[in-house]
């Protein structure tokens, strides 16, 4: 690729057209002077969008990001609490509504994802805390008639000699003073909360069933809705005989909506029973002729027939292969997957007097607001969104068709509506991790050096689909046809011109090789796809890290030493691999157990994982996983550990079980009997080692996922001699 191509690609990538983030470029951040969506505090201080301090010394933290289990309330309360000198556990945590001040600094809109939250808010939230503390100190100095320099702060109190005054005592004076800016932040050796372990701030709520999720919202006079949707994505309702549902107890309405047919009743159970009586007829769509086998055949044909669009081209791979002594050539397959968060999609809405109020746990309150506004045809400013705790997100709760559905239903029935999807709806009518066929070819020269790396991925792209899903919400003023035009354009661009970064990210980036090429061929059957915990890395790491083992073994080298040798220019990953290799050397697995290794860089974080595996018959059992992670400064090391544990279990579900089959264009799997998730009796012991780092924090929600599948596959090879190149891992007898 020549330089002008490269810079054009960079331009497009930054403008977001390729990755679906076109949204971002166009999204006007709105007016920061719009009133804050927080209840006014008569007798207290609201210094900024994130904080309220009451006269009786209560501290309310409006968390700008969504809590889906990743510990963001704990992490962000720690950042602001550190500089404010309030223990993170002493905040009452609430979720900020829709306001530009709550934008994710990395995305310039309100969106939680991409393992960005702590990294993006690391400085802004600390600054908000530091400035507020400076304000309180100035107020205390004035009230007490002493110089600021004679005062200290500790745990929500101003200390004046031996006197301890609650911050709340000074909020009246503070409200009348100018807000300081650019207050110096603490140096790291002064941190009391950052870098320290303490329990999550939402632990008690979640251990007592008192954390409110979207499903728990219950309004007076509310009706309950269930929707029947086409099993084949995109097929519209042709006809339905409403009578059998209308005859059921409690049913108030049966109505056609954009995604299917809604049944509304006095209770969820009544709505569900009645919906089961319907036999909707759906229009025919081309996707109905597609099965998993068709998809795999089409991908294989595309792999043969095209070179694909270029995502990366460094050096000259063919030159590299010419110099190679050993070449390994292999194809890897990863299937469609569902997120299956434990809380199925749901939303509650009240529309009255030209205003709407929505309750739902989403990864973007801003998109939710826009979708309600668009559907109800009202100004977004008239839509209040209450975010709740999310019963799991993993990328699924960025796509909010349930918000559009509940709005359509409420407009028709003129009462508050609670819409709940079933688990079957979740698995069959969702948005998915795309399937991928990856062809890797790599060569090692006689000196054991990686000289050529050529990777080609076939599959569909997340960018255009996420544009379709997210743009209508975050661009409420832009016409639907224009948005579809943009998405179609994005389809064309990613298919014919520039690779969608989420399709091939991680396929070639980690290891030193003189000649590298990554290409992408788009085949899209129309199964809707989206971000799934660790996104492209969820499939690319499997191929890349399996190949590294295959290649090392073919070249007669130790796979871990081979990785160390080829990360000389990649210091952080090198260091993580080195620490893991030292652990590995000490390990003495009992007989019948085998170790497999993998490492990967994603979301600015480096992770290495060692899986200890046994095989009995065809059964793969993972006993223990050792994980080394460098995520920069760990804000709360125990939360980092928990995210690695969770990511490993999430990735193991994909490695051992995760598979969606397409039959006649529909998802075959329907519930946890045929889409099994890892259970406790299959879950390994997990040890997490966090690299001590003074660098700025990086992501932790997703990077634990990618290395586990290849680590297990590499261990299975040692145990059985079988090289498994498809997920989920299935041994042949």
């Amino acid at each position: 690729m020549n330089a002008s191509n490269l810079s054009r690609r960079r331009f497009l990538r930054n403008s977001g057209i390729v990755g679906g983030g076109l949204v971002i470029g166009l999204n006007l951040t709105g007016c920061s002077r719009a009133p804050l969506p927080v209840p006014p505090l008569a007798d207290g201080l609201t210094p900024n969008a994130f904080l309220q301090i009451t006269a009786d010394n209560r501290f309310i933290f409006y968390c700008p990001r969504d809590e889906m289990g990743q510990g963001v309330t704990t992490g962000l309360a720690t950042l602001i609490g550190e500089e404010l000198d309030v223990h993170p556990a002493d905040f009452e945590v609430r979720f900020g509504g829709v306001h530009p001040d709550y934008a994710n600094p990395d995305f310039r809109m309100q969106m939680t994802g991409g393992s960005t939250s702590v990294k993006a808010h690391f400085l802004p939230l600390r600054q908000a805390g530091a400035d507020t503390r400076a304000l309180l100190l100035a107020a205390a100095a004035a009230d007490l008639g002493v110089p600021v320099a004679s005062l200290r702060t500790e745990a929500g109190h101003v200390l004046n000699g031996d006197d301890r005054h609650p911050y709340g005592r000074f909020v009246g004076t503070a409200a009348s003073l100018d807000m300081p800016a650019d207050t110096p932040l603490k140096s790291r050796d002064a941190f009391r909360y950052i870098g320290h372990n303490f329990p999550r701030v939402d632990g008690v709520l979640k251990a007592t069933g008192t954390a409110q999720f979207g499903i728990d919202v219950d309004l007076p006079d509310m009706l309950h809705a269930v929707v029947r949707r086409s099993p084949v994505p995109g097929a519209r309702l042709r006809s339905v005989d409403q009578a059998p549902a209308l005859a059921m107890p409690g049913v108030t309405h049966v109505l056609a909506i954009s995604t299917g047919v809604a049944v509304v009743a006095g209770s969820h159970w009544q709505a569900k029973q009645a919906a089961g009586k319907l036999a909707p007829v759906w229009e025919d769509v081309p996707l109905a002729g597609i099965d998993s086998a068709t998809i795999q055949e089409d991908y294989a044909r595309a792999m043969e027939g095209t070179d694909g669009v270029v995502a990366l081209d460094e050096g000259d791979v063919e030159l590299g292969f010419a110099a190679a002594d050993k070449v390994v050539d292999a194809r890897y397959w990863t299937p469609y997957l569902a997120h299956a968060p434990m809380e199925p999609m749901n939303a509650v809405i009240r529309i009255a007097d030209g205003r709407a109020e929505l309750w739902s746990g989403t990864q973007s309150v801003q998109a939710a607001q826009g979708l309600v506004a668009r559907t109800a045809d009202i100004d977004p400013a008239l839509v209040t969104v209450h975010n709740t705790y999310l019963g799991g997100g993993f990328g699924r709760r960025g796509t909010l068709s349930h918000v559009t559905e509940v709005t359509e239903i409420a407009l028709a029935v003129n009462k508050p509506v609670h819409l709940l999807w079933s688990r079957e709806d979740d698995l069959r009518n969702g948005v998915y991790r795309p399937a991928s066929l990856m062809h890797l070819r790599a060569g090692v020269d006689a000196g054991g050096n990686l000289v050529a790396w050529d990777a080609h991925r076939v599959g569909s792209n997340i960018g255009p689909d996420s544009l379709r899903a997210v743009a209508p919400g975050v661009l409420p003023g832009v016409g639907e046809r224009f948005i579809h035009g943009m998405a179609d354009l994005s389809d064309r661009i990613t298919s014919d011109w520039f690779a969608d970064p989420t399709s091939t990210e991680g396929l070639a980036d980690d290891y030193d090789a003189a000649h590298r090429r990554v290409t992408q061929t788009t085949v899209n059957h129309g199964i809707p796809v989206t971000f799934w915990r660790s996104v492209g890395h969820s499939h690319t790491a499997f191929a890349k890290e399996s190949m590294m083992d295959e290649l090392a073994l073919a070249a007669g080298q130790d796979p871990v030493a081979f990785r160390l040798k080829h990360t000389r220019t990649n210091k952080r990953l090198h260091n993580v691999i080195r620490i893991a290799s030292e652990k590995l050397r000490e390990m003495q697995p009992e007989s019948g157990r085998f170790l497999g290794f993998a490492a990967h860089h994603a979301f600015d974080t480096d992770v290495a994982e060692i899986a200890e595996v046994s095989v009995t018959g065809n059964r793969i059992r993972v006993h223990k996983v050792t994980c080394v992670v460098d995520c920069g400064l760990a804000i709360n090391p125990d939360v980092v550990r928990a995210q690695m544990e969770g990511g490993i279990v999430f990735g193991l579900t994909a490695a051992l079980h995760g598979n969606l089959e397409i039959e006649g264009g529909a998802i075959r799997e329907s519930n946890f009997h045929d889409y099994p998730l890892l259970r406790m009796d299959e879950a390994p012991d997990i040890e997490v080692i966090i690299v001590d780092s003074g660098e700025a924090p990086t992501g932790v929600g997703e990077p634990g996922v990618p290395p586990i599948a290849p680590a297990v596959a590499n261990a299975v090879f040692r145990a059985t001699g079988q090289r498994l190149r498809s997920l989920p891992l299935r041994l042949s007898a």
Binding site: T208, I215, D218, W269, P341, M342, R423, E645, F650, A683
Partner: protein
Amino acid sequence: MIEFTLNGKTVSTNDSPDTPLLWVVRDTFKLKGSKFGCGAGLCGACTMHVDGAATKTCVLPVGAVAGKAVLTIEGLGTPDNLHPLQAAWHELSVPQCGYCQSGQIMAAAALLATNPHPDAQAVEAAMAGNICRCGCYTRIKRAILEVAGSNLAYDATRTQPATEASA
């Protein structure tokens, strides 16, 4: 009309007897701590105690609990009066998204009430019906074993209601 005790208090409902107990508790009696995850007895998010036994209530018709004692997470303990398992869940930061945790804790409480000192294998067997998509298993196991092994001595009587149902 079906009568049963809910967290120690006698309640009655006119819901049709085939309505799953989960929906009666959530929507009629407004106790939202027990969750819906699958509706098919496969995930355990809806676990309550029926006469002391951990039971998946998304597939249990309310008619089947007539005259029986139902205990939910709200009856096990409250933020001001934590059950030892709830305290351990907090201290070890077991929950992530938290959605499965009511069911996990109810399953664990039923286990400890019958087997106060289970080993790891017994814990795994008793908890295999409860899915956690966030993958909190190592901590759930650790929390249960810690309570089981603590010299705080697990107090089985704590499976009695801590509060009255608000219904």
